[in-house]
Symmetry: C2
Subunit: 152 residues, 2 copies
DNA sequence: TCCCGTTTGTTCGCATACAAACGGATTTTG
DNA sequence: CAAAATCCGTTTGTATGCGAACAAACGGGA
């Protein structure tokens, strides 16, 4: 029963390889879901880029952080963090100082303006998450978030 | 019973607004899931960028396409398509020609080298999708893809 | 036929992303 | 303690990704 032939069902040895359809691939779907989310974000909060907002939100949540720690907590590359922090510093939303105990570190913290701005945006930010998930009902939303977390 | 106080459960009138935790937001989770996928991709197919592969795969699937059509089918901005096509043309994986009937259009098609390359990568590409979904069991994978599609 | 709105492709500018390489600082280890 | 391994931040280079502004070309209706 192990003849390498005539096994039309299941995964026969010479089964035609499933065709590769871009629209069926997780990666493509993830990318498009992300694109849709970013479009919703851009409409709701045009004054800050997504990563600039994420940075302010994380600093508000966790307090002053080194650039590296900030990168880990926001899932940003060190090189990317630098650019974001540079621009936020230029717009006076964050400030940086040298760490007294570790001279390699640069500590980033919110300025009063940055704190005021991010606090004023939390309501809109919640709305963004709500709208992004809006095609799903409550049960599906919970399931989706659960599966997303499990996949990371 | 409508005193604006002492209502720890439910959503009281002055309910403390749900704190904004970055790690709880769909956008952040989508971004991280995408990052993880891109890391898996990069390990499996280092010779082409994700969008270069997506472009070749779509051309293989749909045949020659105008740049705009290619952009719509791969969910790429027109400006982004140009850069990707330029690089693929430089590496001789695609070629372009002028449309006879519509002089605005640029038709993009696979070269023999591009076709051979993309066909040789389909197996690895399938493996990438499999690995990306591997933290989920079969039922969860189906559910996840279903919810992702519903959200787009 | 001529005008107008749309489509297509291009260019510019800005903001992620990440790999790789580097110098300086700190920590681990032998 | 000194060497080795790590960590932190920076810089460079390449590749998306998108908004905005344009020019050329198309299509339909007045």
């Amino acid at each position: 029963m192990d003849k390498p032939e005539a096994e039309p069902e299941a995964e026969g040895p010479a089964a035609s390889p499933a065709p590769y359809r871009l629209d069926d691939q997780v990666g493509h779907l993830l990318r498009r879901a992300n694109q849709r989310h970013l479009a919703i974000y851009g409409r709701a909060i045009p004054e800050l880029t997504p990563m600039q907002f994420a940075t302010l939100a994380k600093l508000h949540e966790a307090g002053a952080l080194s650039q590296n720690a900030l990168g880990r907590l926001t899932a940003m590359d060190a090189a990317t963090v630098k650019g974001v922090v540079d621009r936020l510093r230029k717009s006076a939303h964050v400030q940086t100082e040298n760490d007294k105990t570790d001279r390699r570190r640069t500590i980033v913290s919110l300025t009063p303006e940055g704190r005021a701005l991010v606090e004023s945006l939390f309501a809109r930010a919640h709305e963004i998450s709500r709208e992004t998930l809006s095609p799903l009902d409550a049960t599906e939303q919970a399931m989706f978030l659960h599966l997303l977390r499990k996949m990371i």
